[in-house]
């Protein structure tokens, strides 16, 4: 059952069956980084936003994407001053309702107020360019918007003036409905109500102050025949059930809340859920492998139905692209997911083998690193390809499969610095990565290695034979004849040097009285076509 990307997100949001987990990277100002713009430049320019989001869509293979992740959009229209930053979304720096304004002074924002027009035009253009992708319109949740208006005084007022708090929240709810409508008109599929500040309050306060307004807001979205999501971040575990009772179609959480905890509450209430790849420790500071593992772990904990894979919150501006690309690549590729699954935590693979002398035997050794050739098709074809040609080398070539499901194979793989499977290594060198070479190509690679080995052998046979003699030593002539005959009979490439000065004797710890003397010097090629490190050279010298 192959379905469109947009449909995949919509169906998952409605807890319906789908072919695979949808992937929705929450791209906000990070899209600015993708096109070389600061967050300040990016979030205030429609063309930059369109270009940034399109770049993210092209790079990250998402099923859905938000138009922006900017919880200051509405607040700005009410006169909240914004403090802009190059690598962060802006922050609200003033609160109109504690700076002298009354609630009655504030008006529900119009479609062109502040930066709303830029965002909605961006939504229209992205919709047109990407009819097959689910677009999220993010609005500031009533509680967080109320906090922007009143500052943290809201927490005191919940006790001192709860009726006033109610009125502010109701106004924020109406604002949310207006912005939702603008997004829906501009082509958004899902309205996400982002209310991170609710993590600060308990379920009773949530029920008292947030639920009535959030419920109405989600009802409004439902009446508009669109789907909704409720985003929260931080330690909001206590409110998950209350959030679900507000009847959104989906809820999204960050890494502070375990996904299975969310799943067990939300799914029985027919609310799908999403999240929660860690933003800082994994996506910002981790590697591609860390990101894939974390994404996979989210998917495994959540199950296939009613789950949307996403970062926990707005992606940091400087998130490495390769990490998000790695997830985008894996999400469509079951085989890649199996590989990631098999590569259990690398931290456990602390033992590595010393491979410096590996591949020096007379035979050519082919190591095939696989997931398991009996269970994985690409691995099977690779093993069969190698198996088919080895008899032609009549015992000179030997092959081995290393299934990384086993710990020792994983250690071997790590020791050879192999990152992908299946991979073919010839005498310990990574030769074919994730592709099955053609027969001729494989034969050529093996032949090349055989020739290399022969050359090394020849080089090892090369030696110098030094005859030390006193000028008038009668025994020298006979010695010289015997040496020449031996070299001839063996067909060896031995160079013969004759030295007759006293110092040469002393240099080899001999006396001229010991003439004639024979000294053999055998050569050992230690490196070729590269500059050896000083420490390595020292080791060679010590070996002498």
């Amino acid at each position: 059952m192959k379905i469109s990307r947009q449909n995949r997100v919509l169906r998952a949001t409605r807890c319906e069956k789908i072919d695979r987990t949808p992937w929705v990277p929450f791209i906000g100002c990070h899209a600015g980084a993708l096109i070389g713009k600061t967050a300040t430049e990016y979030l205030q320019n429609e063309d930059f936003m369109v270009k940034g989001i399109q770049t993210a869509i092209d790079k990250y293979n998402p099923d859905g994407i938000p138009i922006t992740f900017d919880l200051q959009l509405e607040a700005e229209t009410f006169g909240c001053e914004l403090s802009w930053a190059d690598d962060n979304p802006p922050a609200v720096a003033s609160h109109p309702l504690i700076d002298g304004k009354n609630l009655s002074d504030l008006k529900i924002p119009l479609p062109e107020d502040g930066r709303i027009g830029i965002v909605m035009n961006t939504c229209r253009r992205i919709r047109k360019q990407n009819p097959d992708i689910a677009l999220y319109g993010l609005i500031t949740g009533p509680f967080t918007l109320a906090l922007h208006l009143l500052g943290t005084k809201i927490f005191m007022d919940m006790f001192d003036a709860p009726d006033d708090v109610e009125k502010i929240l109701d106004f924020c709810r109406q604002t949310g409905e207006a912005i939702s409508k603008y997004y829906i008109d501009a082509g958004a599929d899902i309205i996400a109500v982002v209310d991170p500040m609710t993590s600060q309050i308990g379920p009773e306060q949530f029920h008292e102050f947030v639920t009535p307004h959030a419920k109405k807001l989600f009802e409004y979205i439902r009446t508009s025949k669109k789907l909704s999501s409720f985003f929260v971040c931080g330690h909001a575990q206590q409110n998950i059930e209350e959030m679900c009772k507000c009847r959104p179609d989906n809820i999204c959480v960050d890494e502070n809340i375990p996904l299975d905890y969310v799943r067990d509450i939300s799914l029985p209430m027919q609310v799908s859920f999403g999240g929660n790849i860690p933003l800082t420790s994994v996506l910002l500071l981790g590697s591609e492998t860390d990101s894939q593992k974390s994404a996979l772990s989210c998917m495994e904990r959540s199950g296939k139905e009613g789950f949307i894979l996403a970062p926990g919150c707005d992606l940091p501006y400087a998130t490495p692209q390769k990490n998000l690309e790695a997830i985008g690549k894996m999400i469509d590729d079951v085989y890649q997911q199996d590989v990631v699954k098999a590569m259990t935590d690398e931290a456990n693979v602390c033992d590595t083998l010393n491979m410096t002398e590996y591949g020096q035997s007379d035979r050519v050794i082919i190591d095939i690193i696989t997931l398991d050739s009996e269970a994985c098709a690409p691995c099977q074809y690779m093993v069969e390809a190698v198996k088919a040609i080895t008899p032609e080398f009549q015992g000179v070539v030997e092959w081995r499969e290393h299934k990384i499901k086993h710990q020792q194979s994983l250690v071997f793989m790590t020791s050879l610095m192999v990152k992908n499977v299946p991979t073919i290594c010839i005498d310990g060198r990574i030769t074919f990565v994730s592709r099955i070479p053609k027969r001729d190509e494989m034969i050529a690679a093996i032949q090349k290695r055989i020739i290399e080995k022969m050359r090394t052998k020849i080089q090892r046979r090369k030696a110098t034979l030094i005859i030390l003699r006193k000028r008038d030593d009668e025994l020298f002539q006979k010695t010289r004849e015997n040496v020449d005959l031996a070299i001839k009979e063996l067909g060896s490439e031995v160079e013969v040097l004759i030295k007759d000065d006293d110092n040469s004797f002393y240099a080899y710890g001999l006396s001229p009285l010991q003439s004639p003397a024979v000294v053999m010097a055998k050569y050992n090629v230690k490196s070729a076509r590269k500059v050896p490190d000083v420490n390595i050279i020292k080791e060679w010298i010590k070996g002498i």
Partner: protein
């Protein structure tokens, strides 16, 4: 290599953290040191920074003006500062004035997860508590409780603004959240200099602060029915000292009044000109929530 000690100052907004910080900066203990001060502000951008006294020490000041320090959104900003300190500044000590809504339990996790535990350690976590507002915020805001749970010491600030009886109740409430925590009283952030070195950090596993403490909670009563004044007085009497706070309007048969109760005592009762419906919030302590609700329900319905 010696780890750099972090002195963590927490407390809800308005508790007096910046005043306390300024006092700390006057102490010889910090004056003599190469110091870094990190301030995370939420909702008060640019206010706390300039308020920090810069003349007393040669400290370097960093501000994080986004979200709650240690919330996921600001982790990277905090880590950026720590990395800069590790690589370039190498101060003798760090004081962090955490945002009023910070979940301070996260800082240990962050330092360990980012591999910085060889370079930094929490020396102590001091929570400044606002004597006047702590009780009413406690059932409302999760971080007010978690800051006390994770603290190594509590300093009750603004003690001059409450009486002895209130202070006694407040201490008992704090001890009900963190039973063994040392508590100091102060005014204007005048923290006892001995305190800094007399306490050590007690690492707590990330506690799951899922709801307000079970024995402290708030309930809201809203109704349009007229209430008999004597019935109200009886309800207050019946709950007694278990009613830590009550504040709001009550629609009496004689007109609407604004009332306020602290620790079971009616401290304010004013007639208001407008006729309004009953709407008040009550904070109960060590009384079954259902029972308190039942008492108030009875108050509303008994004459009707």
């Amino acid at each position: 290599m010696e780890t750099i000690p972090i002195y963590l100052l927490t407390g809800f907004l308005g508790a007096g953290k910046t005043t306390t910080l300024n006092h700390l900066l006057t102490l010889d203990f910090f004056k003599k040191r190469e110091l870094v001060v990190i301030i995370n502000e939420f909702g008060t951008i640019g206010i706390d920074g300039p308020r920090v006294n810069r003349s007393e020490t040669r400290h370097k000041l960093f501000e994080i003006n986004r979200g709650s320090l240690f919330c996921t959104c600001t982790e990277k900003d905090f880590l950026k500062i720590l990395l800069e300190m590790k690589e370039k500044i190498r101060p003798d000590a760090i004081i962090i004035e955490a945002s009023g809504i910070a979940e301070t339990g996260d800082i240990n996790r962050l330092i360990i997860d980012s591999g910085l535990s060889d370079f930094f350690e929490i020396h102590c976590n001091i929570c400044v508590v606002d004597a006047t507002n702590f009780i009413k915020l406690l059932p409302m805001v999760k971080s007010v409780r978690s800051q006390v749970v994770f603290a190594d010491s509590v300093v009750i600030n603004k003690c001059d603004l409450i009486d002895e009886k209130e202070l006694k109740v407040l201490k008992k409430v704090i001890q009900s959240i963190n039973p063994k925590i040392p508590i100091d009283n102060t005014v204007k952030g005048n923290i006892n200099s001995m305190l800094i070195n007399s306490i050590s950090h007690n690492i707590k596993e990330k506690a799951f602060i899922d709801k307000p403490p079970e024995n402290i909670y708030s309930i809201t009563i809203r109704n349009s029915i007229e209430i008999d004044r004597n019935t109200f007085a009886n309800a207050i009497l019946e709950i007694g000292k278990n009613l830590l706070r009550l504040k709001g309007n009550i629609k009496f048969s004689t007109g609407t009044k604004f009332v306020e109760v602290i620790n079971g005592e009616l401290v304010n009762e004013e007639q208001i000109s407008e006729q309004k419906n009953t709407s008040f919030v009550a904070i109960g302590w060590k009384i079954n929530k259902a029972k308190m609700k039942e008492i108030f329900d009875r108050m509303v319905w008994c004459n009707n």
